[in-house]
Symmetry: C2
Subunit: 289 residues, 2 copies
Amino acid sequence: MNESAFIEALKALAAHPGARGFEDDCAAIEIGGETLVLTHDMMVEGVHVLPGQDPADIAWKLVAVNLSDLAAKGAEPVGVLLGHMLGDGDARFVDGLREVLETYHVPLLGGDTVRGDARRAWGLTAIGRATHRPVPSRTGARPGDTVYLTGALGAALAGFEALRDGTGGDSTAYRRPRPLLAEGRTLAPVVTAMMGVSDGVLLDARRMALASSATFALDTAAIPIALPEHRRADTLRWGDDYQLLFTAPAALALPVAAHAIGTVLALGDAPLLLDGAPPAPDDPLGYQH
Amino acid sequence: MNESAFIEALKALAAHPGARGFEDDCAAIEIGGETLVLTHDMMVEGVHVLPGQDPADIAWKLVAVNLSDLAAKGAEPVGVLLGHMLGDGDARFVDGLREVLETYHVPLLGGDTVRGDARRAWGLTAIGRATHRPVPSRTGARPGDTVYLTGALGAALAGFEALRDGTGGDSTAYRRPRPLLAEGRTLAPVVTAMMGVSDGVLLDARRMALASSATFALDTAAIPIALPEHRRADTLRWGDDYQLLFTAPAALALPVAAHAIGTVLALGDAPLLLDGAPPAPDDPLGYQH
């Protein structure tokens, strides 16, 4: 059974109406008149973190990527549960965990620790409370909407390269991503669709277009990047920046600063158009799990 | 930083009133007038499962041990989130997952899949809704209460040995533990303290006694076991049976069948007495994480 078959099998099991599937979205459940938003991400040494990376950064990122999922739902964090494989550098792990939890005022509710191994894995579940209902999803983009991005992409890519190559360049954006919780809460009441850009803006825009049964026509030159122009193609296909991608009616005055990067069209032959043309069939568009 | 220091550091971070700590208890949060009960357990290949074990059994156990945590809180499962490291036997994993979710009518809400490794790890978060408040904890045992156990111990130990030694003996109890959800819900309104026996009845009784600031005096011969008498000492120190350990006023007629195994006393010199005497200082009492 290959990975995509496995994920399809899980999605078939996830028949609950609040189950929005794996990898790329949160679950939502109704409890006592509130909507809880839940997400769970795993990180594996050597896959999601570089060898020798500071465990404090691993802890930060583990929490931040999950909070970023809540941000895209306009949800306020209620708490997190940690699954931790014990090993070297655990004191640093606790330092990073404390920092990120204090920075975002998120309580640690509990979890599990298990004996470690040569290559370790961590899991984190974040629980949030929806601040606006319906909870923003990726299915609501409508023809005529404008496609927006909250900020520039590429700082995480630059940080990854600096860390990997030991250049001494600034790697903060890669190591310590910042979930846009306040922006997500402010945007939730006005967007038609919203998601966090975790796997690359082109790939995630295509996902949102497919979920909304629409075509997204992006103006790639309008997408703000934090890297030199000759790195644009890479930057648009790299994740880890955790900006918010959203759609809203074209005439709407936005409550937060954002960059218009394209237009939603009625679904055509392709769900994604880049400067008027569909991407090449072999273009991965982003980080494929 | 050793394991217990790490866990203490996490407990210090878990300052939320609903955080009941790591390893051995659930978290609880108040949402919209309801109490949600949350638990997260990790399993690692070679540590928590035998080499070559059927992935369907791994999936079953991963869900069942978390549901067992909810059972001890009298909580009704709302759903689970899965963290899964991809690898061989994933089709069987899905089979086992489907079986356990259907058996207990629990929806899969979402989760994450990550690329695998030689030794794999899984995490599961289970969310439940409290059916009785206050939610039973391990802190409420009072002098004069009787200590009860819902059923016999040792079937999981026998199953583990059969599987490990390839005897062909029945290993169901080890591979497919059954969370006592109905029993937990029925007991929740009448117990003074309750927990699942996951690490051995003696160790867990000592934990409950410490949490309740009391001494538990157990009559070890009264503890029902499913193994021959000469295995009693091992059986009382082995986990994985997931029976419920609870205390209730001695005069109370119980709503479910259970075995009286001891008495709660005011806290004395030792939190645990076995047939009138404290256990030897070097007795591990059960499975120490």
